[in-house]
């Protein structure tokens, strides 16, 4: 596709099927070229797992999707809205895109319930009671409704990460981004978070997950993206990706992490 999109003009794609379009995206940190010509389309309901060695640009890539990082070249269109410096567009995109971080980033001065209701009340102007009902429903879904009155510091890492997922879901996002959601967890807590994400995937959420959990990728992903050195090296269905990797770098990477 060689579309040269004018800023502000929606791209010529079928908005009903495409959730995210990244076309020729480049990003630099100072002189360092961190993302090099990224082209990636994500369909609605699709689950993408991004893997690759550390420093390969995986996190930077998904952080560009909700503009926590700014890209300098190319275009990123999220749910029909092209990301530019325009704050209104950024707000629109962030409202529709939930994000879960490696370090949870819960707000320690607010209770679990307040963490979940903050954005619905202040961004969506939802009445407080309605927001609380919604939050309790989602906390039940991630199986920790009984912790609603506690502060984040009183919860285990796995519980905090599930709260972070519930908090993002409270905004009723169309797309969920996961930035190494299990990397900061103790081993025995990884499963509870992955189970929550699996449930989300089964409900048809569009998900982009940066992770080293290859089991999760194999089971849940529709496509696996392998990045190295700031570029996409290989994209394939998980079965093909793991059993029959094409690129030398993919083979090397898989041989290092799969024993």
């Amino acid at each position: 596709m060689t579309v040269e999109p004018a800023p502000g003009v929606p791209l010529a794609f079928d908005p009903d099927s495409l959730a995210i379009a990244m076309i020729g995206v480049h990003k630099w940190y100072g002189a360092f070229h961190v993302l090099r010509n990224i082209n990636l389309d994500v369909r609605r309901g699709e689950r993408i797992v991004i893997c690759g060695p550390s420093g390969s640009g995986k996190s930077t890539l998904i952080r560009c999707i909700n503009r926590l990082e700014e890209h300098q070249q190319g275009s990123i269109v999220v749910d029909g809205v092209e990301l530019t410096a325009d704050l209104k567009r950024i707000d629109t995109v962030r409202r529709d895109v939930g994000m879960v971080f490696q370090q949870f980033n819960l707000f320690p001065h607010l209770t679990i319930l307040e963490n979940c209701t903050l954005a619905p009340i202040w961004v969506k102007k939802m009445p407080k009671r309605e927001a609380e009902e919604l939050a309790m429903r989602l906390l039940t879904r991630v199986k920790i409704p009984e912790q609603a009155g506690k502060y984040p510091g009183q919860l285990s890492g796995g519980q905090q990460q599930r709260v972070a997922i519930a908090r993002a879901l409270c905004m009723n996002p169309k797309i969920m981004l996961f930035d190494e959601p299990t990397s900061a967890l103790d081993p025995e807590m990884v499963k509870e978070v992955l189970d929550t994400m699996t449930g989300l995937a089964q409900d048809g959420m569009t998900m982009i997950v940066v992770t080293h959990e290859m089991g999760f990728a194999r089971e849940i992903a529709d496509r696996v993206v392998f990045m190295d050195n700031g570029e996409i090296v290989e994209i394939n269905a998980p079965k093909e990706f793991f059993e029959n990797p094409q690129h030398e770098r993919t083979k090397l990477f898989l041989s290092q992490i799969l024993h």
Partner: protein
């Protein structure tokens, strides 16, 4: 030998749980505390004894000076001049009204009393975390109270209250007014300056940096003089602000620069993830700051903020250099009264002034400790 040990360590299966034992007797109780804190080594033991001796040497004479040797009531200074080894509290009692109101007309002093009572009640309402409907308290304190105080203290023809010129204002109520205005306005202004200093907009950032560094770089007295003499120059003819208002503005502007640096310290200690978490949820800049970042940043720097407040409270004594009659100035004025003149008058007056400032500053300090404990509960990271 070595081989046998290896054999023992090689495999082990517990057959019964280790019992949970009480702590040894010598690590608990008063005796243990005394030994650990007062006599843990011969140096600390010696220091304990020296400190004890110093206390015994200094404290009883001071108490005697302030109580049994003091003159508690007298019509004039004659009795105080006869009892020179004790304080002259009679002087304080006699001059109390002057200390409280300055030259405010005697028949109108109830207006000051009323303002003070209403203000104190609202402050308690606002600072007591479990008080009901604190939002109403805040609205009354920040909107209704200033209007009420202005009408009561200055006077208004509408309410048939004679106008009292600020030249006549003085004493404790002027000190409290200066401190209150300084505290209430310096914090929000300081927060704005701190945000400005961290702003990505170059002009905002530069202006904040210049302001903060300039104000911190000059003495408070200079700021007061500038506010007093330069403020009228910037304003059109006939708009010259009141002689009381000028030092108030100076106080606020001065304290705000210090406050800004305290707040900036708090902002810098907030993890980047908190900003990202808030942004990813779609909160805009002001909501992110107001709901997520500042509540955490300000809690972290409560000690610094209260420190600045305490400094500000004591600095209000400097407003006398631009002609305001604050509490300390009334005390010093009263020394000149020939009826009371004597060697014990000044020490008594200064002791009383010190006590006054100590009570307020210590109260702020205790409130700080209370808030830290309260906010720290359940939120430790």
């Amino acid at each position: 030998m070595t081989d046998a040990r290896l054999d023992v360590l090689a495999a082990y299966v517990r057959v019964a749980p280790e019992p949970i034992l009480p702590a040894p007797i010598f690590s608990r109780g008063v005796l243990a505390w005394t030994r650990a804190n007062l006599f843990s080594s011969w140096i600390s033991g010696a220091l304990t004894l020296v400190s004890l001796a110093l206390c015994l040497w200094l404290v009883p004479p001071l108490i005697a000076w302030a109580t049994i040797d003091a003159v508690w009531s007298a019509p004039d200074g004659a009795l105080c001049r006869a009892h020179q080894d004790g304080a002259c509290w009679a002087f304080i009692a006699q001059k109390m009204d002057y200390f409280r109101y300055g030259s405010y007309p005697q028949t109108e002093r109830w207006r000051v009393d009323l303002t003070e009572i209403v203000g104190a009640a609202l402050v308690v309402w606002l600072l007591w975390p479990r008080a009901p409907r604190r939002a109403i308290g805040a609205a009354l304190f920040f909107i209704a109270f200033p209007i009420l105080a202005f009408i009561l203290l200055r006077g208004s023809d509408w309410f048939d209250l004679p106008i009292v010129d600020t030249v006549l204002w003085g004493g404790i109520f002027v000190s409290l007014l200066t401190a209150l205005v300084g505290i209430v306005f310096s914090l929000p202004l300081g927060v704005l300056l701190a945000l400005g200093r961290r702003s990505h907009l170059p002009v905002v950032k530069l202006a904040s940096v210049i302001y903060i560094e300039f104000v911190r770089g000059v003495p408070f007295i200079t700021v007061l003089f500038m506010a007093n003499f330069m403020l009228p120059l910037f304003l059109p003819e006939g708009w010259a602000p009141d002689r009381l208002l000028r030092p108030l503005v100076g106080t606020v502007l001065f304290a705000a620069a210090y406050m800004a640096e305290e707040v900036r310290g708090g902002l810098q200690s907030i993890n980047k993830g908190q900003f990202e978490g808030a942004m990813a949820l779609g909160l805009n800049f002001w909501r992110m700051m107001g709901l997520v970042i500042l509540p955490q940043a300000l809690t972290l720097v409560i000690p610094g903020i209260v420190n600045t407040f305490i400094g500000l409270f004591k600095d209000t004594t400097l407003v006398s250099v631009v002609g305001l009659l604050d509490f300390l100035a009334t005390v010093e004025n009263a020394f000149k009264d020939t009826v009371w003149i004597g060697p014990t008058i000044a020490p008594t007056g200064y002791a009383f002034a010190a006590l006054f400032y100590f009570v307020f500053c210590f109260a702020m300090s205790r409130y700080q400790a209370y808030m830290e404990r309260r906010l720290g509960r359940g939120r430790r990271r």
